[in-house]
Symmetry: C2
Amino acid sequence: MKNNILKSPDGMRSYLPDLAFKFKEIEQRIFDVFKLWGYQPVITPTLEYFDSLTVGMGSRLKKELYKFIDYEGNILALRPEMTAPIARTLAGRLDDLTFPQRLSYSASVFRHGQPQSGKNREIYQVGIELIGEKNALADAEAIIIAIESLINAGVKRFKIDIGHAGFLDGIINQLNLNNREKNKLKAFLVQRDLVGLRNYINNLNPDTNRVLDQLPLLRGDKDVLNLAGELVDNRKSITAIENLKQIYSYLSDYGVEEYINFDLSLIRGLDYYTGVVFEGFTEKLGYTICGGGRYDNLIGQYSGVDLPAIGFAIGVERVRLALEKQGYCFPLCRVDAVIVFNAETSKLALKTARNLREKGLVIISLERKEVDRKLLSFGKSKGASKVISFCPPPEEDKLEIYDLTSNSRETISIKDWEERLWQR
Amino acid sequence: MKNNILKSPDGMRSYLPDLAFKFKEIEQRIFDVFKLWGYQPVITPTLEYFDSLTVGMGSRLKKELYKFIDYEGNILALRPEMTAPIARTLAGRLDDLTFPQRLSYSASVFRHGQPQSGKNREIYQVGIELIGEKNALADAEAIIIAIESLINAGVKRFKIDIGHAGFLDGIINQLNLNNREKNKLKAFLVQRDLVGLRNYINNLNPDTNRVLDQLPLLRGDKDVLNLAGELVDNRKSITAIENLKQIYSYLSDYGVEEYINFDLSLIRGLDYYTGVVFEGFTEKLGYTICGGGRYDNLIGQYSGVDLPAIGFAIGVERVRLALEKQGYCFPLCRVDAVIVFNAETSKLALKTARNLREKGLVIISLERKEVDRKLLSFGKSKGASKVISFCPPPEEDKLEIYDLTSNSRETISIKDWEERLWQR
C-alpha cells in the first residue's frame, strides 16, 4: 500500500489555489445572494448516525453512502446531502426556534457513486432551506434565489426545469401499483428513460397509461400547465397544477420568467419530496448544476410534527465547470507587491510591508540577498505588478522598485513612495 | 437504535445561526489577514488513505483517527489535521509549482479523542502553510500572521508561546535513550508534566539531567534565550537558540514583541516538527487557540525531496469561546426589513423587495393576510428595524411601515418611501 501515499482516494481530489480560489469566489457570490434574502448560516456534523441520515432517503442514495462502525459500535455515515441533517437538527430544537427559519449552508457531501472514473465522491455544495412556510410564495422564493445565485456567480444561458412530485404521485396512485412497481416506475423517470417507462407501463396496465404517454409533451413554457391540467382527473395532480400556476405567477411578478421551463416528468432522486421540484442546467453541461424542492413530511419523520419546508443545493464544482465552458474570466487572485530585503534592512522593510497591508494591499515579503531574475519571475507568477527591493541597503532612505508590467526599474525615496501610495 | 434519529454522534454537533454566524465571521476576519500576506486557498479531501495520512504522524494522534475500510478494501481515515494532506498534495505536484507557496485553508478535521464528555470530535480549523522557505523570516511571518489573525478576530490579552523542536532534540539526543524512552520522555513534555519528567529522568540517567531540571525556568521574555544558550553545549540546541534569537529580532522589527513568550519546554503532539514551534493562548481559556511550527522533513517523506515548510492552525470554536469569555460583542446578523403582502399586492411588493435587495438591503418577504402581533415579533426576532406592509391592498400606491424600534406605524406613499431609501 505504500505506493498510495501520494494518492487521494478515488473520486476525491485536492484543489490548489488556481481552482480553490474559484470555488471560494463562487461560494462567496452565492452567499451574498442568500444573505440579501435573510438566510443565515447553519453548520451540521460531517458524520451522522446511519439511522438518522436515512430517514426519508430513497434506496438508491442509501447504496451510495460511505458508512462505517465507530469505536462504540454505532453505524455512522458521511452525509450525502444536507437536507436530512438540517431537518434532524431542527426537529430536535422545535421549541427553541421561531418559524419561518431561513438557513444557508456551505458543505462537503459524500456519495460513493458508480465506479465510473472521474465522478467526484466528495461534492462541495451551497444551498438553502426555508422551513415553516407552505405557500407558493415560499416555493417561488427558493426558485428565484437559485436563479439569482447562478446569475451572481456569472452563469449565463441557464434554465430552471420545474416539476411537481404531487402531479406524478396523483397519476401513479391511479395505476394501482404495488410499492415495487411504483419504485421501478419512478426509477425510469429518474433516469429520464421515457421509452422504457412506456414499455413498462404497457405491460402492467395498458388502459391507464394515457397521461404517462403524454409526459414527454409536458415540457416547455407555461402553456404546459394548461395542457397538463386538461389531461389529469385526480385531485392530487389538479392541486399540483394549481400550485405550479401560482408559483409561476410569482416568478413572473418578480421578473424571472425567462429562466423558467416546465417539465412535468421531472422527478428527483430523493424520496422525501412532496411538492414542487426543480433543477437548473446550462446548455453545454451534461448535468444539473442545482436542484431542490418541497419536502413537507421530512421534519415530521424526525419530530412527529410535520413542518413544511423547501430548499435547494448548488454544486460549486459544477458551476465552476459551467463558467469554464462559457469562457468566463475570473478576476485574478491579486498580489500587489513583493517586498524583498536582507538582514540589514529588515526593520525598515517589515515596517513598510506592515504599513502597506494596513492600507489593504496584498504584500508578500521575502528575505533575499539580492533581486535576481528568478525572483522577478516569482513576482510575475503571483500576478504582482511590483517588486520593492530594500537590498542592497538603501542609501538615504531610498528603495528600488521593479515594475513587472513594463519591465523597468526606478530608484525612489521612501517618502515619495509613500505619498504615491496614498494617492491610489 | 431508532432513538438515535434525533441525535448527532458524540462530540459532533450542529450550529444554528446564532453560533454558525460567529464561526463564519471569525473565519472571514482571519482569512482577510491571510489574504493580505499573499496566502491563497487550498482544498484537500476530507478522506485520505490511512497510510498517506500517517506519514510522520505520532502514535498518539494515530490512535485518535476515524478509520474505516471502503468498498474497494482500502483503509481510509478522516483527516485529523491539514498539514499532512497539504504536504501530500504538494509532494505529488512539485514539478508544476513555483516556490515559495503560501497556502491557506478552512476545514473540518476529526479526532476521536478521549471519551470525556464535551470534547469536540469534529474541529473547525483555519490555517496557513508557507512552503519552500527555510529562513527565520518565514518563521517570523507565520508567528506574526497568527498574532494578526487573533487580533483581527477580536481576541484580546493573548500570548504566543514559542519553543523549538531542535533545542529539545539536541538535549534528548545527549541522554542516549532508546526510542521507547524518548517517546515516554516526550509524552511528559506534551502533557506538561515537568515533575513526572524529572522523576523519570532521575531514574534513567541521573547525571545528565541538568538542563532538563532547568526547563521549568526557561519560560518568559527574550532573556530566556540567553539563559538557555548558557545551559546547552550541543550544536543542535545552540543552533536552535540562534534561530529563535533571529526570529525574535524580526518579530520585534515588526512590532509584535508584546505578544511573545518563550517556553523552551514546549513540544507539540505531532512528530514531524523540526524547528520553531508555537502555541497561542488567552488567560481565561484552559487550552490553546492556535498552534504550529516548522516541519522541514515531512514533504520529503512523501516525495523523496525535502522541502522546508512552516504552518499553523487556529481553532475557530476555541476563538469563539475566547471571545465569549472576554465579553466580545459580535455585530448582529442584520435583516433590514420584512416585507409582507397578500395575493392581490404581490407584484408591487415583489418588485419593491427586488429593488431594495439590489440596493444591498437584506429583505425577508412573507405572504400573509395581515400584519399581526406574531408577525411583528418575528420581525423583531430577526433584528429587523422595519416591517413594510402591502396588505391590505395599497390605495393610491400607499404602504404601511411599522417601525419595530419605536413601535410606531406610518402610512406613506411608495414614491416617498423610495426617495427615503435613496438617502440612506
